[in-house]
Subunit: 223 residues, 2 copies
Amino acid sequence: MRKLHHLALSPFCRKVRLVLAEKKLEVELIDEPVWEKRLDFIRFSPSGKVPLLKEGASVFTESTPICEYLDESHPIPKLIPADKKLRFETRRVTSWFDDKFYNEVTKNLLNERVYKKIFKLGQPDSGAIKEGLKKIKFHFDYLEWLLEKRNWVAGEKMSLADFSAAGHISALDYVGDIDWQSKPIIKEWYAKIKSRPAFRNAGLLTDLVPGFVPAGHYSDLDF
Amino acid sequence: MRKLHHLALSPFCRKVRLVLAEKKLEVELIDEPVWEKRLDFIRFSPSGKVPLLKEGASVFTESTPICEYLDESHPIPKLIPADKKLRFETRRVTSWFDDKFYNEVTKNLLNERVYKKIFKLGQPDSGAIKEGLKKIKFHFDYLEWLLEKRNWVAGEKMSLADFSAAGHISALDYVGDIDWQSKPIIKEWYAKIKSRPAFRNAGLLTDLVPGFVPAGHYSDLDF
């Protein structure tokens, strides 16, 4: 059986979990306390990061390369489209969320509030949280602008880029950092993703992080 | 004519320049002072980052998606191999350098010493430089371990992952941060890359950053 070492609120793990679920690939989820640097984990993941996917004797790390591999190995449904320009746009938006959105928003909000406590790294940095709350506005304006032109974040069909975006946004929604009322078009997109069987089957709505109660509406399909 | 907005020492721009040169694709390089946020740049690159590639009316950002697009559009020579597992490994190592190596090494050394001065962001942070010099040892041990098993960083053939690694390492070499003597196997790999026509044709050896004289051996093929 396929195994995924993960952390419940990691947006990168959530992206991989959504891809696996959308493709109906079975996987056993293993909570990986990365800060403990368990030998059985570190020897397979030299970067010390999750997600880490094991398939038989094969080991895979780095979330987007894992997703590209899964999409090439299990092409139904295709999450990176066939057309070259659409492939580019799918990868660009995926990279936008996993690099720029992560560094400017997710890291400042989620890592400060949740992981600092779990990793026992001291008090949250209020400057970082302020910066994250400022930057999420810019990113939501950009996401709104994308969704005004398209059905999904990278084009007319759902793609890996939607799962990348949903990985970050769902994790921030768990801790109550998303203002759904100000951006109805983003809310509508997220409602479409959230109500997919894959979202539930990936276990995202039932994740629980000890010490952090999810926002009241987190698992609600009518949020 | 294709145009690439870039910064001379940006490892991400260097990766794209190497891919273009290896595929013999002509490009006009445009120095882009990103910190000036020129309107004609920002409206094409909402992230405010280089590289930004223009081909006719098409605009491309995010370095790895650009390289994937170029490899699919101009497949000779192939820089992402055909075999699924080799494709995964190429993408994994590319991502390792552009994420982990960048955040732990390049950012701490190059950004502190060069970009802080250019961007007028104050004095270099000596703690960050110390951390970068410590982490480069771990990364060079890992790169040595990879190269003991393989001809190139991601397999038996040269690939995008070599250009990603060379983008970072060549930029650090410019500022004299690479200790070539302690790792002969890495030196041998870099000598192979450096002596390729693409390396010279990409203009990497003649880059000059005002205020920063390159290390004496920087453009020397016998370094």
